[in-house]
């Protein structure tokens, strides 16, 4: 492909090729602190291709392709090319990763122990992890938590934080460094999106796992409430939050079983970021 970049995030290495320079240049800059070894053997190839014969030039439009693909993925405008690249990498992980149990969750670490937060899109798990990452925790990832199949530890996958809509303002108020933010992408399929480069320490320690200590199911926009979640329910909800639970077979079952029987789980409803941080502080005090 005309433009390309090799990039390592946590344990995975991606080779990203593009028909256009712009998405690669943006990735190169935003991922400047990550390993970019052009001579590495990549786990996955991601391709950003013109969606049709003329779509390189005329109303340029990106089709996300690669080693793993979705047959009917909708093409995206080139101005959202950075998002397309991110989606392409996520897709490789979601469909292809087998070396850990992959859970759709954010995670942060303190004192060698990890807090894992999972929930549907809009639950606030991503923003909460980003906020904690600015307040004394190590940010481990806002999208995927990788559960070790052998020892149960959580491995980081600290890709760029994908801030959507209201979360953009929240993090701009939190982070006093404009150079850590990517370009504003308006009217993407997921709304407005800005990427945030994780803190330096998070990137430097991206191969360092942590033992899980607490699992939360946050839910934004509800009156403050904290409820225990039984092991059976936590197990079932995590099977739904995992993209490779079925593919891993018995190893996946064992890893998830170990996780839910060893880690306390709570559902947390909250009305504001500040309230959520309060609750997390209190809960962490009990388990740590």
């Amino acid at each position: 492909m005309r433009h390309s970049l090799t990039l390592a995030i946590g344990p995975a290495t991606f080779r990203i090729g593009s028909a256009w320079e712009q998405p690669i240049a943006q990735l190169r800059a935003l991922y400047a602190a990550y390993p970019q070894d052009a001579a590495a053997i990549a786990d996955y190839a991601v391709r950003l291709e013109p969606a049709g014969p003329l779509r390189r030039w005329w109303r340029p439009s990106v089709r996300i392709a690669g080693d793993h693909m979705l047959p009917d993925a909708a093409p995206m405008a080139l101005r959202h090319g950075l998002l397309a690249a991110e989606m392409g990498m996520n897709l490789q992980m979601a469909l292809g990763w087998r070396r850990h149990l992959l859970i759709h969750a954010s995670s942060v670490e303190k004192g060698g122990r990890a807090l894992v937060m999972t929930g549907e899109s809009g639950s606030g798990k991503s923003t909460l992890a980003a906020l904690l990452g600015e307040r004394g925790w190590r940010f481990m990832g806002d999208e995927f938590a990788l559960l070790d199949l052998a020892d149960g530890r959580v491995h980081p996958f600290p890709r760029l934080v994908s801030l959507k809509n209201a979360a953009i303002g929240v993090m701009r108020a939190e982070v006093n460094d404009a150079t850590r933010f990517g370009p504003m992408m308006r009217e993407t399929p997921k709304g407005d999106i800005v990427h945030l480069i994780p803190p330096q320490d998070s990137i430097a320690r991206m191969r360092e796992p942590a033992r899980p200590a607490l699992l939360l199911f946050p839910r934004y926009g509800f009156a403050r409430d904290v409820r225990p979640v039984g092991q059976g329910e936590a197990f079932m909800r995590l099977t739904q939050a995992s993209t490779n639970y079925v593919a891993l077979g018995e190893a996946g079952f064992d890893a998830l079983h170990r996780f839910v029987t060893g880690v306390p789980a709570l559902a947390v409803d909250y009305e504001s970021g500040a309230a959520a941080l309060d609750i997390i502080d209190a809960l962490w005090g009990e388990v740590a």
């Binding site: 492909m1 290495t13 080779r15 090729g17 001579a39 590495a40 053997i41 990549a42 786990d43 190839a45 391709r47 291709e49 392709a65 690669g66 080693d67 793993h68 292809g96 087998r98 070396r99 593919a247 077979g249």
Partner: protein, 331 residues
């Protein structure tokens, strides 16, 4: 071309030591695109490779093992569903290779379950499968009618709980294709392998793989089909029987071409290839270092060929017109 590097490595696994990172990247992407990564992983199991490659191949090996386990379970379910009719389905392709423990199954990805039943029992078989939880996936009445009238199989069915597809064949080529394989002979010569499972005879397995690759379809996935054929060739004892069966099914020329292509791609390359063979080889080896089909026009030509093989020109025009109006576009 990375596909060429891939088959070179499959021919001589010990050449892995000399590969550079960029060559590995191209080979791994080409292998994924051709659904040959699991096969490659099996071939390289005892060969020293870089750590990054070893991890990728270990994943592929695990995926292939899982697919085979699921495929054999599906076969078991189909046998169970058809047993009350006194019908023993004959497994075809991937599931057959896995059930019979053939070399072609090593690391092979297996998608749908393909079975063969006698045509006069097709309706009963369909009813039994529907009762056992399989459902229609082609809601379009034209497609459904087309399958039933002209194809060698029922419209595909998917199991409502297990989400796995089954193709129920009554012969091995569409009824509109020029060669007319003898389905009754295929069934009569099939062999039992235990567990209520049957597979085609060694010679007919090759005939089916050859028909599937060269007398049907546009050669996408051709490298994998050719690997199957190469492995099946190596395991057949009675070579003259193979010629006799090819003649009986009207596929002598196809078998000869498959033999030349297999020798050229995966063997010693000593056989002389024809000019037409060279076009097939170009099509087979068209994956580039990003796993893309780098010869789109050739792919389109083979797509058109696949339709010409499948039906006479007038019928084809009518078919394409109907599909076009329904919004279907090639490529």
């Amino acid at each position: 071309m990375s596909a060429a590097a891939l088959v070179q490595l499959m021919r001589t696994p010990e050449s892995a030591a000399a590969l550079r990172a960029d060559q590995w990247n191209g080979i791994l992407s080409a292998a994924r695109a051709e659904r040959l990564l699991g096969t490659l992983a099996a071939l390289l199991e005892y060969v020293a490779v870089p750590d990054a490659v070893r991890a990728i191949l270990a994943d592929a090996r695990r995926d292939a093992e899982r697919e085979q386990r699921i495929a054999l379970w599906e076969a078991n379910r189909a046998v169970e569903a058809l047993a009350p009719l006194g019908l023993e389905p004959i497994l075809l392709k991937g599931a057959a290779y896995a059930a019979a423990g053939l070399n072609a199954a090593r690391g092979r990805m297996i998608g749908d379950l393909d079975i063969l039943v006698p045509r006069d029992r097709l309706e009963e078989a369909e009813g039994a499968l529907l009762a056992a939880g399989w459902e229609w996936v082609k809601p379009d009445p034209y497609d459904d009618a087309y399958y039933r009238r002209w194809m060698h199989e029922l419209p595909p069915l998917i199991h409502r709980e297990r989400d796995r597809m089954i193709d129920v064949h009554h012969t091995i080529l569409p009824l509109t294709a020029r060669p007319r394989p003898d389905a009754a002979a295929l069934i009569a010569q099939s062999v039992e392998i235990g567990g209520g499972l049957r597979v085609l005879s060694p010679a007919d397995r090759i005939i089916h793989a050859v028909a599937h690759m060269l007398a049907d379809g546009d050669l996408s996935g051709g490298l994998r089909n050719l690997w199957d054929i190469k492995c099946l060739f190596a395991e057949i004892e009675d070579k003259s029987e193979l010629e006799r069966r090819a003649a009986r099914h009207g596929l002598t020329a196809h078998l000869a071409r498959a033999r030349r292509l297999a020798d050229h791609v995966y063997g010693q390359g000593e056989t002389r290839v024809t000019l037409a063979d060279r076009v097939f080889l170009r099509r087979l080896l068209s994956r580039d270092a990003w796993g893309r089909d780098s010869r789109k026009w050739l792919g389109l030509a083979f797509y058109i060929r696949s339709h010409l093989l499948r039906m006479p020109p007038l019928m084809l025009i009518r078919h394409l017109w109907t599909k076009w109006r329904k919004g279907h576009r090639p490529v």
